[in-house]
């Protein structure tokens, strides 16, 4: 009985892929039920106003139209979708599922039409007559704070949802003692998460079993179940939420929106299944956006370049309402403000502001890319002031390798790290000195060439649960249930809800290794609340760190029982049983049992062991004791066409550290995708509203997505500093790529433009903007 080769750490092809590459997977819009109706939403054309008339007479007369609902039909019957992140002291008005007389952003649902097919539903939605007395909108978050600004909510008397001063008395002293200071106004523009599959819901109320089944494209099926229960006033045990194949999330599919609660209500009211799949324009207009921060950041530094203290003020756009986690996101920007550096004190002030725009919420990175952007721009500015090399400045400020766990001045505890080793590896891979020399040669030939750098850390593996507040009634642990069949095959039921991350493969590798069984003997099930009875979901780079640890814990419980059964079968004591790779043997003896032998015995009456229950199943929940802090160093080189402003990204090198890795192929996928997403924000992406609050980026014609031809081959490498906070030693990887890549390319562009005297640029770095900077620099020199 040979011990199986270990699968953890190996590049194993995904088990998800056979169905996906053949078009055999089932996404929500692929679900088709007998008698199913189709919903289409009537949305506000105005960003702010009072609905004076809604007339659905003509819509209802169209053949095939079943019903039209407005807020009047919902009043007192189905509640607002709860926001789970109402901060202390926050001014807040619950957001209705359909506009309750006032509209507050363009794209807000005003009415919903239900019809026998999708085409009729859309025709009828266009036939609903809605008259809105529009009023002045406020779009710019800084303007929203000005006296006399139009108010998103008259009844609140202000657009300031909450003001969070986070002072630190040491900051003022350190600023007074400083050799110098820098002050930067940094805009982290609003972007759209854009999962390729938009949100979609199929709701099916069945009168017989009194059961509501909801298929929905979500990252958090259990949270979704809970939100629907609260919203509809229905016990959770009457609700089953299924996240079937989910076509990307990036944070946008963590929250429940009005539609996810309204569709179940409609199905229950009409006693019919009903489907809605959003259009891309709906996704861009009415699914949560990300970022949207304007920060004034000041840094005090010593003569040797040591950054002493930071003083910041962030105005964060909340949008027209508090989305589920929206208000919590900007707090991460303060928490991660010092980045990977030994900054002694941080004072920050956060103003979270209502505007007549779509709500913001978690978007891949969620607060950390904003923090990294702030501190990396500061590092470059200080280096420029002191005439120091940007890498040298970072080396002088990085937290020393022996300092972990490290308590940051903002209250974070960094679990582990070796930033220097990671940086050195990146410097070598990029050939920093050689690349700078090449840049200088290019400059000597009259070219605009630049080199960029970013070193960063971030916070992952969310929980612990103490961060969540009512009415969330949910923690941020994760669950796993392992069910062992008599044959030794194992079903893993995980509360994580992967949607592209590949955990059907990664978890099977782990379980296969734990029990010494083939990967084909492990089935990983997720995303069905009737099958996986408890769970939290996939977000905050927690799938492996928290979900994987729960799987590991359940496997350990099974092994412990299996060992007792093996001892009985081997006629020895538990202490004398040796387990390795699923092979059970007596220390010093020849007899061996496989995991399948033990599983079979566990289920067999005749060999039931005194004091043991039959079977071999286990349930575990992992509550993290703290958060993990992956880190990395990015370098890139760019050139800019002097005549057109066109930016060419020539090289991009990423060396990161996410602790131990289960499947390097999956890890590379997460890295590469994240890096390009971060570069998308830097290079082209931006949600734009005009001053009246009309969305100007409502299709892919206007919302610029990163496309294949924009990028060189990204060069990856890594170091490994395991996390001490979980038995896997994993730190989390989902969001990592988006943290440092954005400031890195901005660093390179400012380096390229530095010979022209340019010291500031805002994202996105589109050719028009760069061309204007080049022209402006030329004009001012002429």
């Amino acid at each position: 009985m040979a011990i199986k080769p270990v699968m953890v750490g190996e590049r194993i092809k995904r088990r998800e892929d056979p169905r996906l590459i053949r078009g055999m997977a089932t996404y929500t819009d692929d679900v088709k039920l007998h008698g199913m109706l189709h919903a289409a939403f009537v949305r506000s054309d105005y960003a702010a106003g009072r609905i004076s008339r809604i007339d659905a007479t003509r819509a209802k007369q169209l053949p095939g139209v079943v019903a039209v609902f407005t807020f009047d039909d919902l009043r007192g019957k189905v509640g607002p979708a709860p926001c789970t992140a109402i901060l202390p002291g926050m001014k807040h008005v619950p957001h209705p599922l359909l506009a309750d007389g006032d509209v507050r952003y363009a794209g807000q649902p005003v009415a919903v039409v239900v019809a026998k097919d999708k085409y009729i539903a859309r025709d009828a939605a266009l036939a609903v007559e809605v008259e809105i007395d529009s009023r002045a909108a406020v779009v710019d978050p800084e303007a929203a704070l000005a006296p006399g600004a139009p108010l998103v909510y008259e009844q609140l008397g202000t657009n300031l949802a909450v003001h969070l001063p986070i002072p630190n008395p040491d900051t003022e002293r350190l600023f007074a003692e400083a050799h110098g200071t820098v002050s930067l106004r940094l805009v982290n523009q609003r972007v759209a998460p854009v999962p390729m599959e938009g949100r979609a819901v199929v709701a099916h109320w069945e009168d017989g079993p009194q059961k509501l089944t909801v298929w929905t494209s979500t990252q958090t099926p259990h949270g979704c179940k809970q939100q629907i229960a609260i919203c509809l006033g229905l016990p959770e045990l009457r609700i089953r939420v299924i996240a079937p194949e989910v076509g990307g999330g990036f944070g946008q599919k963590i929250p429940n929106y009005g539609e996810e609660c309204l569709l179940p209500w409609i199905s229950r009211k009409l006693r019919k299944p009903v489907k809605w799949a959003e259009t891309r324009t709906e996704n861009l207009a009415a699914s949560a956006h990300g970022r949207g921060h304007v920060s004034q950041v000041e840094a005090a530094y010593a003569r040797d370049g040591k950054i002493l203290a930071l003083r910041g003020k962030t105005i964060a756009e909340l949008g027209a309402f508090a989305s589920m986690l929206g208000p919590a996101i900007p707090t991460f920007t303060h928490l991660l403000a010092p980045g990977p550096y030994t900054i002694k004190a941080v004072s920050w002030e956060i103003q979270i502001v209502y505007t007549n725009t779509m709500a913001t919420d978690a978007y891949r990175g969620a607060g950390r890319p904003e923090a990294a952007y702030n501190i990396e721009r500061v590092m470059d500015a200080v280096a420029a002031k002191l005439g120091l090399d940007r890498v040298e400045l970072r080396k002088r400020n990085l937290i020393p390798a022996g300092s972990f766990p490290y308590s940051s001045p903002t209250g974070a505890v960094y679990d582990s790290g070796n930033y220097q080793a990671c940086l050195e590896k990146a410097l070598a891979k990029f050939d920093y000195a050689g690349t700078l020399a090449a840049r200088d040669r290019a400059r000597a030939e009259g070219k605009l060439a630049g080199v960029g750098v970013a070193t960063f850390t971030e916070i992952c593996g969310l929980g612990p649960s103490t961060g969540t507040a009512p009415p969330a009634r949910a923690g941020t642990w994760e669950s796993a249930e392992l069910r062992v069949e008599p044959t030794g095959a194992v079903t893993v039921m995980t509360g994580a809800s992967p949607h592209g991350q590949g955990q059907e493969t990664a978890f099977a590798q782990m379980v296969g290794d734990a029990f010494g069984i083939d990967i084909e003997s492990v089935n990983v099930v997720h995303g069905d609340t009737d099958v996986v009875t408890h769970g939290v979901g996939t977000f905050g780079s927690r799938g492996l760190v928290v979900g994987g640890t729960a799987v590991h814990m359940a496997a350990q419980k099974i092994l412990a029982k299996a060992k007792r059964i093996a001892a009985h079968l081997l006629d020895t004591t538990e202490e004398r049983v040796n387990v390795e790779g699923g092979v059970f043997s007596v220390v010093g003896g020849a007899r061996k049992l496989s995991f399948a032998d033990v599983a079979s015995a566990a289920h067999t009456w005749g060999v039931a062991i005194p004091g043991e229950e039959p079977g071999l199943d286990a349930v575990a929940r992992f509550e993290p004791s703290g958060t993990t802090f992956p880190f990395g160093a990015h370098f890139c080189s760019v050139s800019i066409d002097r005549d057109t402003g066109e930016l060419t990204l020539e090289r991009f090198v990423s060396v990161d550290d996410v602790g131990n890795i289960i499947n390097p192929m999956l890890a590379d996928g997460q890295r590469l995708g994240g890096i390009i997403q971060g570069l998308g924000q830097a290079l082209c992406e931006e949600v734009r509203y005009d001053e009246s609050g009309q969305l100007m980026t409502g299709t892919f014609m206007d919302y610029a997505m990163p496309r294949a031809a924009m990028f060189p081959r990204i060069e990856l490498d890594s170091t490994c500093t395991p996390s001490p906070l979980n038995p896997l030693g994993a730190k989390g990887i989902g969001e990592l790529g988006t943290i440092g890549s954005t400031p890195c390319v901005v660093s390179a562009v400012l380096d390229a433009l530095a010979p022209l005297g340019v010291t500031h640029v805002d994202m996105p770095l589109r050719s028009e903007r760069l061309w204007r900077l080049i022209q402006g620099a030329g004009a001012s020199r002429a």
């Binding site: 088709k32 999962p195 390009i676 997505m705 081959r713």
Partner: protein, 156 residues
């Protein structure tokens, strides 16, 4: 309107509303849900199918325009035990994550390889400019297409 379309090698007769988009007809009437809808404006490529051998965005074509044509969807590209080289490439090289853009990416890549069996990375990236992927950052898709190109070349 009555149409006859050869879909994945089988003649299909249908009587459909003239405004029906090809992608809706394939998905809703024929149950070929492997072709996905990502934007309905021909800008993302998730709905790419082959019409008479050319990669076409099926959200930008009326079903009646396919009358008399050969249409191939992802379901008709390969079999479980005989994958198309591009499908193999995507699996081997981790060319997909959430899988939503994947059928369109595979159909567009297959059309490229039918024209050019030795594409450069730049040619692959150019050929896939009409297809958006949010998960992979494209690099592993490029690797997947190169992998497929090797299979195609060696198979000859």
């Amino acid at each position: 309107m009555k149409i006859r379309v050869n879909v994945n090698g089988e003649a299909v007769d249908a009587d459909i509303a003239p405004r029906t988009l090809l992608v809706h007809w394939l998905r809703e009437d024929l149950g070929l849900t492997g072709t996905h809808i990502g934007c309905e404006t021909s800008l993302c490529g998730a709905c790419t199918v082959h019409v008479d051998g050319k990669a076409v965005k099926s959200c930008a074509l009326l079903a009646v325009q396919a009358d008399g044509c050969d249409v191939r969807t992802i379901e008709g590209l390969g079999e479980a035990d005989a994958l198309h080289p591009v499908q193999t490439g995507f699996w081997e090289e981790h060319g997909l994550q959430c899988g939503y853009c994947t059928p369109g990416m595979i159909m567009a890549s297959a059309a490229l390889l039918a024209q050019n069996q030795s594409p450069s990375d730049a040619q692959i990236r150019h050929a896939l400019e009409g297809n958006i992927c949010r998960c992979t950052g494209y690099q592993q898709i490029v690797n997947a297409v190169q992998h497929a190109a090797r299979i195609v070349r060696e198979g000859k």
